[in-house]
């Protein structure tokens, strides 16, 4: 096929991992076993099952992974339900990468990082976190505050416990909404936990999660003394083209697929809150 923007290539799902009751992580390579294309953390790709649908997903594996791409996908609509039901060996179509991604090589470089995620919101951040791990010397301290409804809903729990927690200068703070048998960690919502941990304001913060969590966490950060210019987030919207032409994913004059999905909070403040 071609490498034109709206025309995908074939990909094969080579591994499916259940992360939570409603999130699975899919590993995708081309039929000859290669990565479909290179990307930067925070960028997205269009995945499709012909006849079912095509949708934009955050690439959750790190660019430093040279062998495959991964997508952590929550079951919530037509296409995602279909993907959740499929087996290894299933072919999909894939095109991308789309979007600006996180400024890991510019604004983030040399900074202490604070990642805050809720639920499936960890998925897009996993790519950045693992990128930071792979270029450990380029970044300072890393704090991760991550919460979910329950222990079972924590995405990448194994990777967090076995790898991230052991990384040098990585502090991982996990929380779940309600107490649960077998959980001896923190219980409570993310925004409150962020304030409780009292993270120093010399961090560059990245927020990802449900809109309501973003709203209250941003408030918590501002109360801690963070500036909006220090806080980034990544947005979600219905998309069809991925290249700023089909006309639906704009917030004000910014197209989420092209100018986003990563925005700094002070930039978002200048745009209508229609997202």
């Amino acid at each position: 096929m071609t490498n034109e923007a709206l025309f995908p290539v074939v990909g094969v799902i080579t591994d499916i991992r259940r992360d939570t009751p409603d999130v699975k992580t899919f590993r995708v390579v081309t039929p000859d076993g290669k990565k479909a294309f290179e990307h930067m953390p925070g960028q997205c790709a269009m995945l499709s099952i012909p006849g079912v649908g095509e949708a934009m997903f955050s690439i959750t594996s790190s660019p430093t992974n040279t062998e495959f791409m991964e997508f952590s996908i929550k079951k919530c609509g037509c296409l995602t339900s279909w993907l959740h039901a499929c087996e290894v060996g299933q072919m999909v179509t894939i095109r991308g990468p789309y979007g600006n991604g996180f400024p890991v090589e510019t604004a983030f470089k040399g900074k202490n990082m604070l990642f805050i995620a809720g639920g499936i919101g960890l998925a897009p951040l996993r790519s950045v976190i693992n990128y930071v791990r792979a270029h450990r010397a380029d970044y300072g301290t890393v704090d991760i505050v991550y919460g979910s409804r329950s222990m079972d809903d924590l995405v990448d729990f194994k990777e967090i416990q076995e790898e991230w927690k052991n990384e040098k200068d990585f502090n991982v703070y996990l929380t779940i909404d309600r107490p649960q048998d077998g959980w001896d960690g923190h219980v409570g919502f993310v925004p409150a936990y962020v304030k409780e941990v009292n993270i120093p304001t010399d961090r560059t913060a990245i927020l990802c999660g449900p809109p309501i969590m973003i709203k209250f966490t941003l408030q918590a950060l501002l109360e801690l003394g963070f500036e909006k210019t220090q806080v980034y987030t990544t947005l979600e919207f219905r998309m069809k083209c991925g290249i700023g032409k089909c006309g639906r994913c704009n917030v004000g004059n910014q197209y989420i697929c092209k100018d986003g999905p990563v925005f700094r909070m002070d930039q978002l403040e200048e745009l209508p809150s229609e997202y």
């Binding site: 179509t93 919207f237 069809k240 004059n253």
Partner: protein, 341 residues
């Protein structure tokens, strides 16, 4: 310059059609739209506003992109794009011509939309000046001169004769092939053009004030309470967007055929309730939001991203076609600034 008597235009159409596919405004079942020229077609060059605009040539309402062969877990992708054969569009008015510039800014911007580009390059555009601009025309508000559109060849009717002038090499090449045309000699169109300019100037919406529509007013305009009143009667149909020469939102959909799955692109409308709907959320839930999006896009967002060029050419199709008489003139008058009454 070349010319032909208007009485002999069918000769011209036949001759062009013998060289390339020719599309021009044809009246059929009571309405005028661009159609492929065939002998006996009721060509209608009096009607200024075809129902569907000329954007259809480059961005058709629906076009096939690819076909998928699905076999168990396997997928094979095959190109289903049609090759764009050279074609001529005759009778494009200044407003529609300008709409191509606007569409170019979207589709030819990197990454280039090759489906659009191929058709754009395959076309030869013969424009036609508007001898009698209508009351609903307001192209002048957007700096468009109805008397002198360019294209590859520009045509104008003067005293029962149609005059032609090549504007590009492609245009000159076609013009030179046309044996039914005679040399225009010293006939010129200057007086007729001046007359058209005067008529355009006197139209009721020729000089709408657009001052308020600028990027720095984005939030202020977005929050204007008048959107509620302006959008109240909106039915949420797609008429305005489908007759609009600059509306270019599209959808990409799959169609399950006997042989496999065909993926096609088709027009979509920001007025439709499911336009931005996701599995769990919809950022534009109300018709007010969708209505506002359409006009903010044309009058604020688009110029903000494209050096001040507005996303409206003042053709007035929406003015004629909105079922409930909502239109961009009412929006501009309400929000555009002083002296709009």
């Amino acid at each position: 310059m070349k010319k032909i008597s208007c009485e002999n235009l069918s000769k011209l159409y036949s001759e062009i059609a013998s060289l390339q596919e020719l599309y021009l405004p044809v009246k059929e079942s009571g309405v005028t739209n661009y159609k492929k020229y065939e002998n006996g077609a009721e060509v209608d060059i009096k009607t200024l506003k075809t129902v569907k605009s000329a954007k259809d040539f480059f961005f058709p309402q629906t076009e096939d992109m690819m076909e998928f062969k699905v076999n168990g877990k396997n997928i094979e992708i095959n190109d289903a794009r049609k090759v764009a054969n050279p074609f001529v569009i005759f009778g494009v008015r200044a407003c529609d011509l300008k709409s191509f510039d606007i569409l170019d800014k979207v589709f030819l911007q990197e990454p280039v939309d090759t489906m659009y580009k191929a058709k754009r390059e395959a076309s030869t555009i013969i424009t036609l000046a508007c001898n009698n601009p209508e009351q609903t025309c307001f192209c002048k508000t957007f700096g468009i001169d109805a008397s002198n559109p360019a294209g590859d060849i520009s045509a104008i009717i003067v005293n029962g004769e149609m005059l032609f002038e090549a504007k590009t090499e492609k245009g000159a090449e076609l013009l030179n092939k046309l044996t039914c045309l005679e040399d225009a000699g010293d006939t010129d169109a200057d007086a007729e053009r001046a007359e058209i300019v005067k008529k355009s100037e006197n139209l009721p919406f020729a000089n709408l004030n657009l001052d308020e529509f600028k990027g720095e007013n984005l939030m202020k305009l977005f929050d204007r309470p008048e959107w509620a009143e302006l959008s109240k009667a909106c039915l949420g149909c797609g008429t305005c967007t489908f007759v609009c020469p600059t509306c270019q939102c599209f959808d990409i959909r799959d169609f399950i055929t006997n042989e496999g799955v065909r993926r096609f692109r088709c027009w979509d409308s920001c007025m439709y309730s499911e336009f931005t709907k996701m599995a769990a959320e919809n950022p534009r839930k109300t018709q007010l939001q969708r209505y506002r999006q359409r006009f903010m896009h044309k009058l604020v967002y688009f110029p903000q991203n494209n050096d001040g060029v507005y996303g409206c050419v003042g053709c007035g199709r929406c003015v004629q076609k909105c079922p409930q008489n909502l239109n961009i003139i009412k929006v501009i008058k309400k929000l555009g600034g002083k002296n709009n009454d």
